[in-house]
């Protein structure tokens, strides 16, 4: 793990260049350009609003600006997760000419997918910041939790990307499995709804390590109070374990990449 980190540190220019390339390619020759990064969270948020309207019709509880703001914040994080995982899973197979021809730490490929998606998130963030005040959100000290929550989110995402990119190199059906799971994962993760809707069944939902992070973003940014610390600790542990396991798994298989891709 420490070796991996050292290797990456000495190849940081390469990580930067590969990420830069991904960003260049994604925005070159596309009509919408940077709008792409904004579009995805907007669509997710719209879907969330529709779901909430339906829910409020049934329950009779009116939807508030804070509800919509919360969906927006979670949508941004979710869009990051989905895009990173989608690109990350195929990052090694998509770069097979580099994998077989040039030697450098392969971890750079899944990580650059994560960084590229992080860049997309940074593009979309100002839009959310412009909208939040209208949703009645005020600055609060609890927002200082946001960077920590993002670190957990990025760590968890990176762990999965690393794991799946290596797995997909050996078994090409991994990418289809990931696609299918990602399509439906939004129903198992409280992006469009809140975990508290489930009352006493909430802990089951919280077992998904993404849930505490998304709920945490909702609490700290929109509601202005602390996240659920125990569950955040659980997510952090899960992310750390996944990242560590992913790196070990990845580096164990790395010598076989060039001949198996």
């Amino acid at each position: 793990m420490i070796d991996a980190f050292k290797e990456l540190l000495s190849n940081r220019e390469l990580l930067y260049m590969i990420t830069w390339r991904e960003i260049r390619i994604r925005y070159k020759q596309s009509i919408m350009g940077m709008l792409w990064a904004v579009l995805m969270p907007i669509i997710i948020t719209s879907a969330g609003v529709v779901v909430r309207i339906a829910a409020s019709k049934v329950s009779g509880r009116p939807i508030t600006g804070a509800d919509i703001g919360g969906i927006g914040a979670k949508a941004l994080a979710w869009a990051f997760f989905v895009s990173a995982l989608r690109f990350g899973t195929t990052s090694l197979t998509g770069n097979s000419s580099l994998v077989t021809k040039i030697k450098f730490p392969r971890l750079i490929f899944p990580l650059s997918s994560v960084l590229t998606s992080l860049f997309d998130m940074a593009i979309a963030l100002p839009v959310l910041l412009l909208v939040l005040p209208f949703a009645g959100v005020r600055l609060s000290p609890s927002m200082l939790w946001v960077p920590a929550l993002l670190v957990v989110l990025v760590g968890f995402t990176a762990g999965l990307c690393i794991l799946f990119s290596a797995a997909n190199l050996f078994f090409r059906d991994v990418k289809y499995v990931v696609e299918v799971v990602l399509t439906f994962a939004i129903f198992f993760t409280p992006v469009l709804y809140d975990a508290k809707f489930f009352g006493k069944w909430r802990p089951i939902l919280m077992l998904n390590p993404l849930t505490p992070v998304l709920e945490g973003l909702n609490s700290t940014v929109i509601l202005g109070h602390q996240p659920d610390l125990a569950w955040i600790a659980y997510s952090t542990a899960a992310a750390a374990l996944l990242l560590w396991g992913g790196v070990v798994f990845f580096r164990g298989l790395e010598p076989r990449f060039a001949e198996s891709v």
Binding site: M17, R24, K28, I102, P255
Partner: protein
């Protein structure tokens, strides 16, 4: 050894023929098999073979080494091990210093990015820092000769331009050890010369260069030491000339053939008009005979012959088709013979004949043997080089003082030189006769 740059100690690598399990469904049975089988280090399953078989090498700092061998001998696999892309099944590899491997030019170039962007990207991928690339940028672009197109996306480049830019980035790496696979065969002739010149400079600066190529001439010119691989083993290691000689011998003994078509070359021979074999005097007439045999019916077969000199320059090639003789269709089991009469206006040295069977309208190669045979031209008077132009000194005298008003009407008049009769005649006669007739079994 303290001054060795690179060492391979009893390196083995196992490969597997055919498909590997690529989907999760196939994983579980193979895992069980693997668990049951013992001693995986040494044993071979039926589908497996050693692509590298006990290779030990010690390459010293500053050496230039050429690796040659037939297709599938393990050359590229060996380079991939040297560059760390693959890990041996058994044995170890030690590398001292910064190693740059150039397995393919322009690997990592992205078609949508401009030449400039790709230079930076590729430079960093190959191991330079961005500052380094920036410093060498002008030099790189200048070497590739692409100043005007540097801000054009590389997808608009011709394949030659693409390759030139790729090579140029790699040529400016300044590594301690440079590993190059067949990349000099890119670009036009002038660029290839430039490439070899650049490699020579890199070698001169003290770097170790390991070079894999089918271009024996480039290997001969550039490398001090040669290594000949065959079926994953080192079968010759020594001065380049000696290794190339051995390579040619092995090539002749089993004939390097490419195609396994319905028709194959049975033999190729060259004999002089006066019965001489193997050794010829300049200007003498010889007949190159090619015998072919069809195992199945073969349509429209033409015979191509090609003559190379010892540096593997293509000195001459022709074919029955080019000489206006119609191609021949053979029935299964039928044999044919094709004789070319040639006048050997060649300079002194060793020459190699390659033979091809080709179908021009379908652009299909039926068979190819190189070298099919060889012969030696003996030295002739004062003529040196690849060809003999039968020179004579037409005039060699001091000129009268310059007088502008007294220029001769036609400056060419002086060159009505006399040629020796024989040479003149045989040059005019240097046409080639083809006789291509089916032989009855």
């Amino acid at each position: 050894m303290t001054d060795s740059a690179l060492r391979m100690n009893h390196v083995f690598k196992r490969f597997r023929r055919g498909e590997q399990h690529d989907s999760l469904r196939d994983l579980i049975p193979s895992l069980i098999k693997r668990a049951v089988r013992k001693d995986r280090e040494r044993s071979l399953a039926p589908q497996e073979f050693w692509v590298l078989n006990d290779i030990s090498l010690d390459i010293k700092k500053g050496e230039t080494v050429g690796i040659i061998g037939h297709n599938g001998a393990g050359k590229s696999t060996m380079l991939k091990h040297l560059s760390g892309l693959m890990v041996p099944t058994r044995g170890s590899i030690e590398v001292k210093g910064r190693l740059s491997a150039l397995i393919e030019v322009g690997a990592g170039f992205h078609p949508d990015l401009t030449g400039r962007e790709n230079v930076f990207l590729n430079g960093v991928i190959l191991g330079m820092t961005r500052a380094e690339v920036k410093r060498k940028f002008d030099e790189i672009v200048d070497f590739a000769g692409l100043e005007e197109f540097i801000d054009t996306p590389v997808k608009r480049y011709s394949s030659g331009m693409f390759a030139r830019l790729g090579f140029s980035v790699a040529a400016h790496l300044e590594p301690d050890i440079l590993v190059i696979d067949e990349v000099l065969s890119v670009g036009d002739f002038a660029f290839q010369r430039k490439g070899i010149e650049k490699m020579r400079q890199i070698a001169k600066s003290g770097a170790t260069v390991i070079f894999v190529s089918h271009n024996l001439q480039a290997v001969a010119e550039f490398c001090q030491r040669g290594i000949l691989l065959e079926r994953g083993r080192v079968i010759e290691d020594g001065p380049t000339d000696q290794v190339i000689r051995r390579y040619l011998d092995t090539a002749m003994s089993h004939g390097e053939r490419t195609a396994r078509g319905p028709v194959r070359i049975v033999s190729t021979s060259i004999a002089g008009a006066d019965g001489e074999i193997g050794k010829f005097q300049g200007g003498s007439r010889a007949r190159i005979s090619v015998t072919l045999e069809a195992s199945e019916a073969a349509e429209r077969v033409a015979v191509v012959i090609q003559i190379f000199n010892a540096d593997f320059y293509d000195v001459f090639h022709t074919s029955s088709e080019r000489l206006g003789h119609p191609p021949l269709s053979l029935a299964a089991g039928q044999k044919a013979e094709c004789d070319f009469d040639v006048d050997l206006h060649l300079g002194a040295g060793t020459y190699y004949v390659g033979t091809y069977l080709y179908r021009y309208d379908a652009e299909r190669e039926y068979d190819h043997v190189f070298p099919a045979t060889s012969f030696v031209m003996t030295a002739d008077r004062g003529a040196h080089g690849v060809v003999n132009l039968y020179p004579v000194v037409a005039r060699f005298a001091t000129l009268p003082a310059f007088r502008p008003n007294a220029l001769p009407a036609s400056p060419n008049r002086e060159f009505k030189a006399s040629m020796p009769n024989g040479a003149h005649r045989s040059m005019l006669d240097s046409r080639i006769k083809v006789a291509l007739e089916p032989k009855e079994q």
